[in-house]
Each structure stands twice: as structure tokens, then as C-alpha cells.
Symmetry: D2
Subunit: 309 residues, 4 copies
């Protein structure tokens, strides 16, 4: 099939440009176009449950509203995430803002000003102190018999129910009963903070519950689609859970990591077929691109496509 030369038109929509890229069919543009088509397919397949996995600075990087919108509008049925994206979601819900900074910052100066840096994004450290207060108060309000043995996924829901922010991922997911699964929750600031008062509040978190939740959903779904932003534990957890159903039916991964060093985050999705994580018949694509660029494009274009059809 011929490579299509991309044509621009005045005021073209994102969907129209991605359609051009899909027809182009090669290199990064072709992959991005194919990813759009696959996401549109999972979104319009009523028998398909869609899981979104989050790793990297996605909430600080401006993708929070898109993620919560996808939950609100019922396109995404489960979130698997790093702890950090939960923390950043809570911080924003508590009224703190991520700030525009610089990759070439003087980190010693930032340290003295009590500002933490994530790439070219800054956040005041006092926000974390506020979060600790909020977490303690909020977890205290969970009935003691529940918090004495609470699954992580239930804890995320209880936190989400107590956040008042219509753009919060946690809040919207809690309201819609969309599970937020965080296999490495202990490895985030919130996890550390909770540890400091867990004994006092008699809090025990059961991480086995997350597996059960995710695997049951995976098994019950007629079809499953994955949208994988970055890699890390969320990619691994969601893909491994899918082995209990002989693999997913659709998958899109957006990553800037390389495959050559052998880590999972940079592994092309093909590899997942060998493990039974992706069905041999599945539609899937790996897009090598910054998620803050590719994800908004894919979602805008996929939604345009399915609403147009």
C-alpha cells in the first residue's frame, strides 16, 4: 500500500489531521493515526471494557482533565496508576497548582525556597503538608471497622468520595464506581504519609484486593482494551492481569522509553503476545511519543471519529 502524503486543510479538526496521518501509514504519524483508530474502536465497542494505565508526570503535565473527562463520559472503566499521579490529583483537588518552571533550574535554590521540581514543573512543598493533614483527617473519617482491613482500591474510592473537584480523577472515578488501582501505592508520598499515622488510626491496607478486583473485571469483560501511558507498574499490572483472560483485544501504548535495554516500559507491545497478555488477534500499536503530545491528540481524534460515525 502506498504511503499517503499528508494534506493540511484550513481549520482542519484534530480528527481530520489524525485521519491523514492514519492514511499516511508509516513512521510516527502512521502509528499515531493507527492508535487513534484503535482507541476509537475500543471506545465504540460496547462489549469492551477500557483500562487506562498512568505512569509519568501526567497530572502535573496537564492531562488531568482529559483523564477525568474520559471517566465521566464512560469511556474508561478502570484506572491503573502510579501513586504519584494520585498524589498530584489530590494536590490539585485541594487547591494547589502545578507551576511552570524550567529544566535548567537551580535545584539548590529551589530547595531553599521549598519548591519541588518535576522536569520543568514546580510544586510548593507546603502542598504536601496540607495533603498529609487532609489524608489523616479523611482516613479518620472512614469507619474504623472498614479501615482495619481496607483494600487499596477501596481506600482510593473513599479518598475520591471526599474530594470536591469535578476534574479530579479520584473524585470522578469514585462517583462513577470506576476502580482506581495502584499496585505501588506504598511508593508515593501519600503512601509514606499514611504509614506515619497508620498505627495510630489502626489502618491496614490489603493489596490483594486490587488484584481480585482487576482480574475479575478482566475475566468478566467480553473484550478488553488498554491505553498505556508510559510503562512502570501500571503497565505491568494491567497486562499481567489480562493473562487471566488470555490477553486483551485492543492495546495502545505511548512511551518515549527505548526497547533495547530490555525494560518493560520501553518494550514494544508485540512482546506481550508471547506472554499471553495481548491476544494474537488483537489490534495494538506502540507510539513512540511524549504522552502529553500524543494522548490529547488521540483522544480528541478518537472522540471526533466515534461521534461522527
Amino acid at each position: 500500500m502506498e504511503v499517503h502524503q499528508i494534506k493540511l486543510r484550513p481549520k482542519m479538526t484534530v480528527g481530520q489531521l489524525l485521519e491523514e496521518m492514519y492514511k499516511c501509514g508509516v513512521l510516527g504519524a502512521g502509528k499515531l493515526g493507527a492508535a487513534t483508530d484503535i482507541v476509537a474502536s475500543m471506545f465504540s465497542d460496547r462489549k469492551c471494557k477500557v483500562y487506562l494505565t498512568l505512569a509519568g508526570a501526567l497530572v502535573p503535565g496537564g492531562l488531568r482533565n482529559i483523564i477525568s473527562m474520559l471517566i465521566k463520559e464512560n469511556y474508561v472503566h478502570g484506572i491503573v496508576t502510579t501513586g504519584a499521579n494520585i498524589v498530584h490529583d489530590i494536590l490539585e483537588a485541594l487547591g494547589f497548582k502545578h507551576l511552570r518552571g524550567s529544566f535548567k533550574a537551580n535545584d539548590r535554590k529551589l530547595r531553599s525556597e521549598r519548591i519541588g521540581r518535576i522536569g520543568d514543573i514546580y510544586i510548593e512543598l507546603k502542598a504536601y503538608e496540607e495533603m498529609e493533614n487532609w489524608l489523616k483527617k479523611t482516613i479518620s473519617s472512614i469507619p474504623e471497622e472498614i479501615r482495619a482491613n481496607i483494600s487499596a482500591v477501596r481506600l482510593m474510592k473513599e479518598l475520591g468520595l471526599r474530594l470536591k473537584d469535578e476534574n479530579s480523577i479520584l473524585a470522578v472515578a469514585a462517583e462513577r464506581n470506576v476502580p482506581v488501582i495502584c499496585p505501588g501505592f506504598m511508593d508515593c508520598v501519600a503512601g509514606f504519609q499514611i504509614w506515619t499515622f497508620a498505627d495510630e488510626l489502626n489502618l491496614k491496607i490489603d493489596f490483594f484486593g486490587d488484584m481480585e478486583t482487576l482480574i475479575n473485571m478482566m475475566i468478566e469483560a467480553e473484550r478488553v482494551g488498554l491505553i498505556i501511558l508510559g510503562g512502570g507498574t501500571p503497565k505491568h499490572f494491567a497486562l499481567f492481569a489480562s493473562t487471566f483472560r488470555e490477553g486483551v483485544d485492543y492495546a495502545v501504548q505511548i512511551t518515549m522509553d527505548r526497547p533495547e535495554p530490555g525494560g518493560l516500559s520501553g518494550a514494544k507491545l508485540e512482546e506481550a503476545i508471547s506472554w499471553g497478555k495481548i491476544k494474537p488477534s488483537a489490534r495494538f500499536i506502540t507510539v513512540v511519543c511524549d504522552a502529553t503530545i500524543a494522548f490529547p491528540l488521540i483522544i480528541a481524534a478518537a472522540l471526533e471519529k466515534i461521534k461522527r460515525n
Copy 2:
């Protein structure tokens, strides 16, 4: 300044999405948004001459029509390119097509089928034989007194004038009198082919003429903007020529190469300030992204922006 959380709207235009990314302001999306704003500025600055540098599989990768459109519509006033993009432009103009293939191809099989591979793009080798015939015939038609000492930039023009293809970069540039400068022209298939019959046709190519052309244009321009796709000799040549005017006023680079190994292709544009290639007061940005993704987006959005204003 706060990180703006990107908002999607139904059927939003590319320009509207890039505006959201510009407001986001951080990571890849923020850089892409800023690049759009800078390109819009150079395109709408009537005193600014804009040079586009081409390295990488841009014509095979589907960007040919966008590039020739920019020349036709008078947004770009000079092209600095690798030889390969010229070759691929000629091949397409002669009616051959790049084909969609696979990164996981069996190259031994392709070899036996006489198909050359560029990433996931295929091209039949016989196209190159046709090109050789065309080159010989075409160069023969250039008056002997001219070809006895022809500048490379003039040779590109003579080739372009003889291509009948309204989407050809060479053809459109020749028609519009936009110079196509190719500092490494000897290092492309066309260069090798020309070498084989240069003696016979008494052809001598003067590469000094390219410098003169580019530097004079650089000096005469009130302001200069660079759009750098990939790196390589085109990036270096255009930036070095700009030292004769104390640096350019606007610059956008799109590259996937890394800065850490020290090569120019991956160097962030900041570095160019130290060399007097970019003015300290210039507006510039480096976008780490596949050019087949970023370039169509930036151009579509920049054109929308300047037509909207």
C-alpha cells in the same frame, strides 16, 4: 505561572488543541504549543525570511505535500536539505511511490525482491534506475556552458524546472525561485549517479555557490526564522550561515536525538546562542518529537492562527 490543564472540545481544530497545549506550558505539549506560536510569529512577520531544514525520512514519511505547500504559499523562502530528501522527491515526481512496510521486515528477502527499506517504508530499487536515466537526460539538456561550472543550488533549480509535479518540493521551489541548498548533495544516490556520467557530460558542480547564496540571503533579511527538522548537515549549514548576521531571530527544532552524546542533531537550541547562531533575544524552542507527528501539527496550527488573527 500555573500549568494549564488541557481541555478537549468536540471537533476542535488542530489550532485550538495546540492553543491548549501552549497554555499548558510544560513538557512535550508545552514545547509543541510554543513551537506553534513561534512558527506563527515567523510566518506573520513580513520582514522575516524563513528557512526550512530537512533531515530524516521526511518525504518518504509523508511530509512532502506540506513542505511544497509552504513554498507555494510563500511561507518558506529557502530549503536546506539532505540529498536523500531530494532523491525521494524526484522519485515521487517521476511517478514512483513509497510503500508501507514493516520495521520487522526480512531484509534478505527484500534484497532478493529488489526493495529498499527505510524504517517501515519500502521503495523499489528500479525507481533509482529510472532516476538515473532521468538525471542523465535532464542534465544533458542543461546548456553545456552552464553545466561546465554550475552551482549546486542552480543545479537543483534546473532539475526542479524539469519536474512536472505540483507537489514536488524541487519543482515548486524552482518555480517560486526558492533556493534548495544541499551541502551534502554528493552524499546521496543522485550525487553518486551524477558522478558516473559527470565526465561524459563535462559537468562540474560548484559547492561554494551555495554558501554565497545562503549567506547573502541571510545578511539581506531583516529577520530570519529557522524551522529545523532533524539535524545533520542541513541544521549545521543553516545555523552556521546565520553567524554572518549575528544569529537568527526565530528558531524551532524538532528532533528525537538526545543531547547527551554531544552531536549537533540532538543538541538543544540554547547551545547555538554561544556560537552566535541564534540571537540572545531570539524566540526559539526545541521539541523532542517525531517530525512526522510534530511538523504537520505545528504547521496546521500556525496557519490557522495567522489566518485567524
Copy 3:
């Protein structure tokens, strides 16, 4: 200071070559040389506790013996790891081998042959079944009162004590009382397998215990050094724990991930200063290199250096 031009000598040792790179002082070679010097400093500083964090295909990629040697020889005092490296360590200890494969594998064929692929490494899936049997048997042998509420770090130790393999990371660490901390242990095949029989064996894993162990060690140490292979939860966990002591004194990170997309795995170590994870006065360096290349070099050279002194 001048860039030193690297000189090769016949049969030079790894330490001698890395010394040349250290003197070179720039680009990748300079960073690798500096990393060697920093690692030698932490290894020879008797008041320094050294933590090694593991993410990526390190055990499958051939680094297992180096890691266990460092524990045996008392250079490393704590391991923070992904679950996958624990799984691969157990598989090797049970007598299974990782096999040399290809990045261009036919994954559908591998699937039918029950072989899982990690980059260009293969492993038979039956090994995982054996591991499941072993895990169940082994965990059954842990006294019931202990396993009713076992910390993850204790569970790792109990597993290690029951592995008979002098090159096993888990076994050697258990023997030397070096904690193996795995903040995302639930997210690995072993974690999933344990989940399937946890109820039956009345097993409860307490992840808060890991934090306590690591943070206490961090606080008690006069100085702390980190060697970070890859990124992921191990990098984050170890760095965050270090905030309880106002940051580490030495740090070396080896990663191929990029900083631009904003994820922690690709973040340069400078960023950690702003968070109080690395002391402003610390010696630290980020090496952009495949860990399977850089880590053996750094360790061989650092050991040579400290034994020479």
C-alpha cells in the same frame, strides 16, 4: 580544565580505562568515569551505607552475579527492587535459565511454544509454574503465626533463606541480613501467584514494614550512597526514604530514559536536590547508558580502584 584525550594501552584493566574516561571528563565517557569515582568513594567510605535499586531486565540481562557478589562482599547494604528481578532471581535459583533470543522474534510462535520474551531474552513459561509450586510450598513452611502478618521485607528474607544458590540475590541477601525491599511486589508474577493461595495459607503481607525498615536504616546511617539502575518504583522509594535524613551523600543513576517527558525514571539526579532527596553537597551523576554495559564497568573499575588504594 582541558578535555583529556583517552589513551589505550595494551591489556589495560577496566579500572585503567575508566580512569582515562574520568580524566576525559566530558560526554558519556566522562560521566561513566565520574560514576566510577563516586561508587569507589561510597564503597570505601566505612560510614556509608549503600543501597542498590534495581529496575529493568537486570537479572535476565546477566547482572545477577555482580549484584549478589556486591552483597556477599559487603559493599551493598540494602536492595530496593522491582518484583520482576526477584522473580527472575528465583527462577534462576530453581535451575531455570534465561535464554538468548531475538528482538525480531515472532511472538505468536513463541506464544504457541510457551516461551515468554523480554527484549531479546526468552524464558520458558513452565518455569513460572515451577515457581508457583515452590512459592506455595515455601510459604507454607513459614510458621503460621509469622505469615499471618508478615512484612514484605521479612517475606523476601524467608524466601531467600530457602533458596540454595550462592549466586542468588535473595539467598545471599538473606544470609547476610541485607534487606530486599520491593515496594511494588504485588505487581509481579510471584505477587500474583501468592495472591491465589494467600487465603488458603492465611497469608497477610504488611507493606508498611518495608518503609520502616528502609527509613530507619536511612536515618541511622552516617552517610548514604545510592546506585540506581533504571528508575521506576525502586528509584522513587529509595529517594523518598532519603528525605527522612535530608538526602543522600552519594548517588549514581544509570538510565536510558529521557528527561524531557517528565517521568521520574528519566529525570536527571539534579532534580532530587529540590526535593531534599539528595544533599546539595552530595556527589552524584547521571549516566545515560544501558545498565548492562555501564554497571559491570563501573563496579569492576570501582573495586579495582579501592583495592589499589
Copy 4:
């Protein structure tokens, strides 16, 4: 075949460590080991002509002495290079030094101090003025009948013969009659400087001569090996010249560029088979690594290997 777990030994030589990596066989270490074995094979094959291609900041990055040593000791029979590495070689030969700087430099400040930055390497701009004087004086000393139509490869030789520096690539190559081929020579500071006085000195450079030289050498050689550092025009030129002999017999590429965007610099060597640039039966490998790290290792180990045998 099993993945070999790398073993370190006290004071092991570079060759011994690379042998361990070769036996490891996978990921980056395995590739580096294989590259060493292939380079050792080409160096010890008396019927093989070896070409080294140079792109990126190799001379500024500390590899100059290794390159000139390989020429002196008759391991390398041709150099294909960017202009920049020639420029940096001349600057060092004229007594100027590259300096250790920082990636996070203030480029505006460097500009005011007349220091140019290449990654984390600095060079005083006055060195370039001295080079201009030297070039003019030196080229003036070439007999007028020769410089009226001098091939680029001859010009490189004439320059090399006039440099007094036993570590200079140009000087050593000239003395040994090893051709230095620079297909993009016009695109370097020296090229620009020469342009400014070319008319005055009646200098005409014939670039066709380079092709003839290289292709004839390629055709005459019984076997050919390529060592490709970085990519760019040198990689393309050397590989394309090899089509005239149906491809090379050995090839090693060291690059940090990615294949996904489709550019030649990041393309894996497999691709070259489809074009007839590498023989289907050839031994070749692509190593994804910073050349300043990988090249010294490979050369030290390959030389140790062939001297040991």
C-alpha cells in the same frame, strides 16, 4: 543458548570484561561484546580493508588519540567523516584545547566570553580565527596548478601533511596515505572559511574525486569492514559506496539515535541489507550506546583479543 551471567574478577582487563559480555549475549552488554568480536575479526583479517566513519563530537569528546592510533597501527584504512571532526582535529593540532564545561551553561554568558559550546564541552572562538589564518596560509602553499582543481580527499591530505602533531587524525592519515573523505566538507567552519578566500587563491574543490577514491578502494578490497560512529553523511556515504561491491563483510554501528523516526543515523544495520550495502552473509551489529563509552571499550578489547590470539 543460555544467557551467561557476567562475572567480574579483580583487575580484569577490558578484553576479559568484554569477553564476559560477549558470552552474556543479550541486551546492550551482549551487543557490545559482539561488536568487539566483529571488530577483532576485521582487524585480524588481512584481506579486509577497514573504514571508520565519524559523526558527532568525537574529537572534542576525547576519542582523537584512539582514532589516530588506529591509523598509525594500520588497523584503519580509510576515514569518512563530518567536517566538524576535521575542524576539531585541526584546532587541537594548532595547540588549542577543548575544555570541560556544563550542559547547563548560560549560553548568553558564553557568547559574551566568546566561548562556543558543544554539549558539555567548550572551545574558545579565537581558535577558529587562528584556524582561518592557518588554512589560508596552508592552502596558499599548495601549488597553484594543484589547487586550481583539487579533490577534497587530496586537500585533506595536503592539510594533514602540514600539521605537526603525532596525534592528529589528519596528520597521521596523510603520512600513512590513508584517505580522509569528507562528503559534507563544505558544511563545516573550515569549509566556510575556505569559501571566503577561495576566489582569491583560485581554489576549486572537486568532490567527485572522493567518490572515485572510496569506490575504487571498496571495489579492490577483498573484504571490507565498517565501524560507524554516529550516523550522518559519513555513514550514508560509506554504506552507499559499498553497493559498488555488493556490500560490506563486517559492520559495527554505535549510535544513540532511535530507529522509529526513520532517519538513517538511527536505522539498525539490518536495513542496509535490503539496499545491498551489507552482504546478507556479513557479520554486523548495532550497539545503542554513547560512542565515547562504547568505542574505547570495543577497541581496547578487540586489540587485546587479536594480540592474545
